[in-house]
């Protein structure tokens, strides 16, 4: 029998595909179902954030930060206001710091819930996704109670917060913590340790620690490979040093260290750690006025600053240059999703198309963050 002629096929995955988590286009070169090459094409959600910022007041930039990583708006704002405050050299009241930390950690849980839930969806399990969204809903309700918005908050302002929290907020946050611990266990029983789920994700998309560091990965993607690096511990900002919690890293217990299951599981464990931080913070919020340190007009002295913080997706940095005017002379954002996405070609070679979905989901990108 003569040998059959076969050839590689170029498959266009996205920008409209259910599992690329937004408008990402991946050019797949496949040999049958085996991925030979995966080239991400980005830019479909580019909104000129950095250029816009140059035309805005410092305060007006905050809502734009909201729209970068739209699943973790609080964390984006947090990093930005830290930068502006550093430029202005103002000290915010302790109460503000505590509330910011609580909000950022609640946001981390909400964001990880989306990541974990949609990851289950990618693997084909529909039900855990809705359980995750049910719990995320409770956090969004909490945010709504404080600032009225559910997705894009404009809550953290340079020097303070838009609104103070109410006693009802504290009540409901405690109720959420009580509800959420068993919910994580339920999620683990239903999805994380499910035989099929483990088979689909363990030993897939292995990212060795040195490769992760070389590509500038951060957040759960980096920690999934076993690198203990978390800015909340390693470059502490705000009041994180006051709380007792652990940096969780991947263990490789189901397969190889740095596989998709590790990256997934780090997020689940991080939610539990965030709960610990919130628990300690919610009981010790000092008294104070959240508007006390808000400057009337923001005109930082000439200078430049780089701040970074740990968002749910990793290291978000802002480089802000001030020329003494009302708006930043230049603002550059170092987005975690962008660096994490650059890993994709390196870890997806030789896997099947179905694994490709598992890998994209485990890296957990938000296209608003990649393109800005």
């Amino acid at each position: 029998m003569p040998e059959l002629r076969t050839e590689e096929m170029v498959l266009n995955m996205g920008p409209q595909h259910p599992s690329t988590h937004g408008v990402l286009r991946i050019e797949l070169v496949v040999d049958g179902e085996v991925v030979v090459e995966a080239i991400p094409h980005i830019g479909y959600l580019h909104r000129c954030f950095e250029k816009h910022a140059e035309a805005m007041n410092y305060q007006q930039v905050v809502p734009y930060c909201d729209r970068m990583d739209y699943l973790a708006s609080m964390s984006n704002d947090f990093s930005y206001v830290l930068g502006v405050e550093k430029l202005l050299k103002i000290q915010v009241p302790e109460r503000v710091e505590y509330i910011r930390v609580i909000m950022a950690e609640l946001q981390r849980i909400a964001s990880h819930l989306v990541a974990v839930g949609t990851y289950g969806l990618d693997i084909g399990a529909f039900t855990p996704f809705l359980y995750c969204f049910r719990d995320r809903e409770m956090i969004l309700d909490l945010f709504e109670m404080t600032c009225g918005a559910r997705l894009l908050y404009n809550y953290m302002w340079p020097g303070g917060l838009s609104h103070d929290i109410t006693p009802a907020f504290i009540e409901k946050t405690k109720a959420f913590i009580k509800h959420f611990r068993p919910a994580v266990k339920e999620l683990n029983d239903l999805l994380s340790y499910n035989e099929i789920f483990v088979k689909r994700t363990a030993n897939v998309g292995i990212l060795p620690a040195d490769v992760a560091v070389n590509y500038g990965a951060s957040g759960p993607t980096l920690r999934g490979s076993g690198v203990k690096w978390d800015l909340r511990k390693d470059d502490p900002y705000s009041v994180y040093h006051k709380f007792d919690w652990d940096v969780v890293v991947g263990t490789g217990e189901m397969g190889t260290l740095g596989d998709c299951w590790d990256r997934y599981m780090v997020k689940v464990w991080e939610m539990e750690q965030s709960l610990r931080i919130i628990e300690q913070a919610i009981d010790n919020i000092p008294e104070g006025d959240v508007h006390a340190a808000i400057p009337k007009r923001v005109r930082p002295p000439v200078g430049e600053v780089y701040v970074r913080s740990e968002t749910p997706r990793g290291e978000l940095g802002y480089y802000i240059v001030s020329d003494g005017g009302q708006s930043p002379f230049r603002l550059k954002a170092r987005a975690p999703s962008f660096s994490n996405l650059s890993l994709l070609p390196a870890i997806s070679r030789g896997y099947l198309i179905a694994d490709m979905i598992a890998i994209i989901g485990s890296v957990d990108i938000v296209l608003g963050d990649v393109d800005r």
Binding site: E33, L121, N194, I196, I353
Partner: protein
């Protein structure tokens, strides 16, 4: 029923037409009910309510509304598609699922075609579905559809082997391929049903058959051919409107076929679980349908609980787990039948 029709209409054209239309009259309401059950069951499993408004009581009219919507949709045929095959494919898929109904004895008194090779016929005619799906994938001229179709072909062909081997074990015990005879062999109380009467071997056979039949109906955890998050919608990505509805209908028709066959082979078919109590032609219909509906519920349950296998894992399960087990099972059941 068949005799009833024959009595009034003779054995001519009208009889054939009527007996072939009867299952169709069953399929449509059944599919609507099954769709509604799936909507509601999945919703309650996921901590939501599902449709609540359409038609008033718990959204009972939602499937009707869906069908009405699908009928109004524009029928799109891609420019690059192979038109003849594209149009033919959904019909062929539906015919494959529908033709199997001819040999299902719905009750002791009603069977479309009482053929001696009943179960053999069902297995054979269901295989036409593969052809239809391959045609759909190829004719759509879409890479995702093609991948889906290739996966389906591989999956269906692989899983027909363990499922046929499982059926073979029952045939050995019953000594017949006529489904009515197989049912009659399980009459009496429910411990006479093959799944329980020949415990545990035929129960294992049932498990093998059920897993394989899940794969044959393309339901989760084996819904790889249409894996939404991977292949967009697999082989029916390009289909819309009524043509899509045909695939949908065929899926539900198929779900019922495999459940009915499992019922007939392992759970006594139209037999009442309580001996002579509540048995008879009409009760027979009731028992067969309710047993099949229970199995359909299990299928829905599994679908909304489990993640999806990967292609190679699917093949592994079929060739290296189910097939050897089915073979060993046949050997033991055969020994038992001979020694008894």
């Amino acid at each position: 029923m068949h005799n009833f029709i024959t009595y009034y209409l003779g054995t001519g054209f009208w009889t054939s037409l009527l007996s072939s239309i009867l299952p169709l009259i069953w399929i449509f309401p059944y599919a609507l009910v099954a769709m509604w059950i799936e909507l509601k069951v999945s919703a309650h499993m996921q901590d939501r309510l599902g449709p609540m408004r359409t038609g008033g009581w718990h959204g009972w009219a939602q499937p009707l509304a869906d069908v009405a919507k699908l009928m109004q949709k524009e029928d799109i045929i891609p420019v690059a598609a192979d038109k003849a095959l594209y149009v033919l494919a959904p019909v062929l898929v539906f015919i494959g699922s529908y033709a199997a109904y001819a040999a299902i004895p719905f009750s002791p008194a009603y069977i479309g075609a009482n053929i001696n090779l009943g179960i053999f016929y069902i297995i054979a005619v269901s295989a036409i579905v593969v052809l239809g799906i391959l045609m759909a994938g190829w004719a759509s001229n879409n890479k995702w559809s093609l991948l889906g179709a290739m996966r389906t072909a591989a999956q269906l062909v692989s899983y027909e082997i363990p499922s046929s081997l499982a059926v073979l074990a029952v045939i050995m015990v019953a000594g017949s391929m006529n489904l009515n005879d197989i049912c009659a062999a399980q009459s009496g109380w429910f411990w006479n049903w093959f799944a329980f009467g020949r415990f545990p071997f035929l129960f294992i056979t049932f498990v093998i058959y059920f897993i394989a039949s899940l794969a044959e109906t393309n339901r989760a955890p084996f819904d790889i051919p249409e894996a939404e998050s991977e292949l967009v919608a697999g082989y029916h990505t390009e289909y819309s409107g009524m043509r899509f509805a045909f695939f949908y209908l065929a899926e539900y028709a198929n779900m019922f076929t495999v459940s009915a066959v499992a019922t007939l082979l392992f759970f006594g078919g139209w037999n009442s679980p309580f001996g002579a109590f509540m048995s008879g032609p009409v009760w027979g219909l009731f028992w067969l349908l309710s047993k099949a509906m229970v199995l359909i519920f299990v299928q829905i349950w599994l679908r909304w609980t489990l993640p999806r296998f990967r292609v190679d894992q699917l093949m592994y399960l079929s060739w290296k787990v189910l097939t050897p087990f089915a073979l060993a099972n046949i050997f033991i059941v055969g020994l038992w039948t001979v020694l008894k």
